[in-house]
Amino acid sequence: MTLWRRSPAHVDSPPERTAQPDDVLNLHRFDHDADALDETQPAEAAYSPNEEARLLRLAQHDPSAFAPIYEHYFDRVYHYCLRRVDDPQEAEDLCSQVFTRVLTGLHTYRGGLFAAWLFQIAHHVVVNHYRARRVPFVSLDTLDLPDDTTWDTLEEAEAGRLLGQLIAELTDEQRELVALMLDAELTSSEIGAILGKSAGAVRIQLHRIIKALRERYHKISGDSLL
């Protein structure tokens, strides 16, 4: 019987990408480049999906290449965190944790939809944050709002505030879905990938949440158009 052997052809070939000794130095260089984060420049300058892929490849060797990606995604990540914790200072901390994990884990990024990967990390950072704080959530069904409250005319600011309040009082899972759709600006497919649900299930859940929000909003505001 012939004993099969592992093919030796690959044994001595170097891996496609290996960490370089100056990777740590690159991080220090990245640090120096912090000053280069031009606060006056628009965040979206010269950014495209192709450019993103190129920068991500570069950033695996030279973290300073990550700066444009940070600029591009910052608002979405920050607003997502802000929606989830409703505290600007905490949102900043969480946002920083998210990008820290992205930067330190970038060498494990395997390509594919970067936004989904990024917000998967953000999702877990927020989940851990809540687990640490053990913040209770209130179900939409148990909102302690007076049923007979009606506002004849809601000023825009008031409408926004009421909507924000209604969203804030959703269950954790519901608010997560809303945050990923409205703030992170993801699609149902991307959200499903993060939460381990099918895109169809996410769509249906979002549909139900928004319908429920609408009914609650209508009940409180008396806005006949909605």
Partner: protein, 501 residues
């Protein structure tokens, strides 16, 4: 398939991101559309102040600097070459000795540790189990650009003109919507069509079956390249060879046409040994062998049905000599592990099958850099046959750190989660998993340069996996894979990485 209200609502929500005046797609409830618009407009936040952005950036950099080993680590000079690692069984702690194999089975240790059998979970040809690949929002026979124009098409054009490249999918979808017959606003959302949860029993292959495989038959598999194969009466097993060009969790996506496939792995194509629990029966021991003899002769290690990780470091496994013929039934009485009676102290029947057990779900395993693996594909029931495609790809891991508590859900579409973390030599790691409502999972741990994997199925409470005090021997990037144990099952889980003292 007509667009459901939830489809239409999503399309509108996404279109509103770029143009708050965009008209809703036809078929969406006007009142709901008006509210959706109000919701998006009122809840749209202004861009964060530049000072905030800069502050977070500085904080991020400080965090990165504080991480002890933030950059990808080079492979240590004195680390075993990947091919050497394949032949050397790494010492296991006593608590995990039940997973150890005899020297004769060292070459099969990887395979035994990751008995991951695909049982038709990838039969939805247009879906990806990766979960990170977008699927079309909806499609169907009416996605036809030649259909008659309508006011809706004009509205769609307005959307298209303002959509960004990122919304190409949405724009395409809107076009499809406008060209479809009017979607019924009262149509019912389509519920998730998960596969049924029936667990198929294993089939015993008649004694004496020989898998006619040879090294020359192993077709190379390359990431991103889909191969077509066929199972027939003459060729009941297809054999492939894959070499990992980087470390990570590799998924072998099998899309069968008309039969239910099984997939197995081996570090050597000459033998395959895997051990998996089969309900109340105990464990099945599976073998696939190309000839009548092994060299050296195989010795299977038996272990009980309900092992735990508590107890002394007593050697507990019982070697079980096995003849070369398949279909053998053997019985062994394991030695009690400790006074607390953690070991199953009753005769344990081991049934030797000539094929892989379908109890594991995923053709997903962790490979080190340059590690190679042979992949078997065959029909589940040994009678059906047909064509299939197979394609390897890396699954993107989620970076985590020690003391993270991870809460998630495994579904029929995403039946695994892959995590990665940076570990240091000397770290002692435990991973605790709790499946909610009895959800049964298994756990794999591996790194970039070692090839012996940690695998656990039921060492935790109940059917939960657990890795207990695993000593990390290298500064390296480590990978964790949590999978559903039973095919086509879903459930939520909680997992915790603990750095032990």
């Amino acid at each position: 398939m007509n667009a459901t209200p939830s489809d239409l609502l999503e399309v509108y929500l996404i279109a509103l991101r770029d143009d708050s005046q965009v008209p809703p797609p036809p078929g969406l409830d006007p009142a709901l559309a008006a509210f959706a618009r109000k919701l998006v407009v009122e809840q749209k936040r202004e861009p964060a102040e530049a000072a905030v952005r800069a502050r977070v950036w500085q904080k991020t950099l400080a965090n990165v600097s504080a991480v002890s080993s933030p950059a990808p680590r080079p492979v240590p000079v004195n680390a075993p070459a990947p091919h050497q690692g394949m032949t050397a069984v790494r010492p296991m702690p006593a608590s995990k000795v039940r997973r150890n194999r005899s020297a004769g089975f060292a070459m099969a240790a990887v395979a035994a540790a990751v008995v991951v059998i695909a049982v038709g979970i990838l039969t939805l040809s247009n879906r990806s189990t990766d979960g990170l690949i977008e699927e079309p929002i909806f499609g169907g026979p009416n996605r036809n650009a030649d259909a008659g124009q309508s006011n809706a098409s004009t509205q769609v054009a307005a959307i298209a003109a303002t959509a960004t490249a990122r919304e190409n999918e949405i724009r395409e979808t809107l076009t499809a919507v406008s060209n479809q017959p009017q979607a019924s606003p009262t149509s019912t959302p389509v519920p998730d069509t998960g596969l049924n949860s029936t667990v198929l029993p294993p089939t015993v292959v008649p004694p004496g079956e020989v898998l006619a495989l040879s090294e020359e038959e192993a077709q190379p598999l390359v990431v991103g390249q889909k191969r077509t194969g066929e199972i027939s009466a003459e060729r009941p097993v297809a054999l492939y060879h894959f070499v990992a060009d980087q470390a990570g969790a590799v998924l072998f996506e099998i899309v069968p046409d008309g039969f239910e496939p099984m997939v197995g792995y081996a570090s050597e194509p000459t033998l395959y040994v895997g051990i998996e629990p089969v309900g109340a029966v105990g464990y099945s021991v599976e073998m696939a062998q190309p000839g009548e003899t092994f060299s050296p002769a195989p010795v299977l290690t038996a272990f009980p049905t309900t092992p735990t990780l508590v107890g002394s470091a007593t050697v507990t496994a019982t070697p079980l000599p096995v003849s070369s013929s398949a279909g053998q039934i053997a019985t062994v009485t394991p030695v009690p592990r400790s006074d607390s009676g953690q070991w199953f102290n009753a005769p344990l029947t081991l049934t030797i099958y000539g094929h892989m057990n379908p109890n594991s779900v995923l053709p997903l395993l962790i490979l080190a850099e340059q590690e190679d693996v042979y992949v078997f594909v065959r029909a589940f029931d040994d009678t059906s046959m047909g064509r299939f495609t197979i394609e390897p790809r890396y699954v993107m891991p989620l970076p985590v750190t020690y003391d993270d508590v991870l809460v998630g859900e495994l579904t029929t579409e995403t039946p695994y989660m892959v995590y990665t973390f940076e570990g240091n030599a000397g770290d002692v790691l435990s991973v605790e998993v709790e499946g909610f409502e009895g959800f049964n999972t298994n756990l794999q741990l591996g790194n970039r340069v070692e090839t012996l994997r940690w695998f656990d199925d039921d060492s935790g409470p109940g059917v939960n996996p657990e890795l207990y005090r695993v000593p990390l021997t290298l500064d390296d990037t480590y990978f964790l894979v949590l999978s559903a144990t039973l095919p086509r099952t879903s459930g939520r889980f909680q997992m915790r990485l603990v750095q032990e003292e």
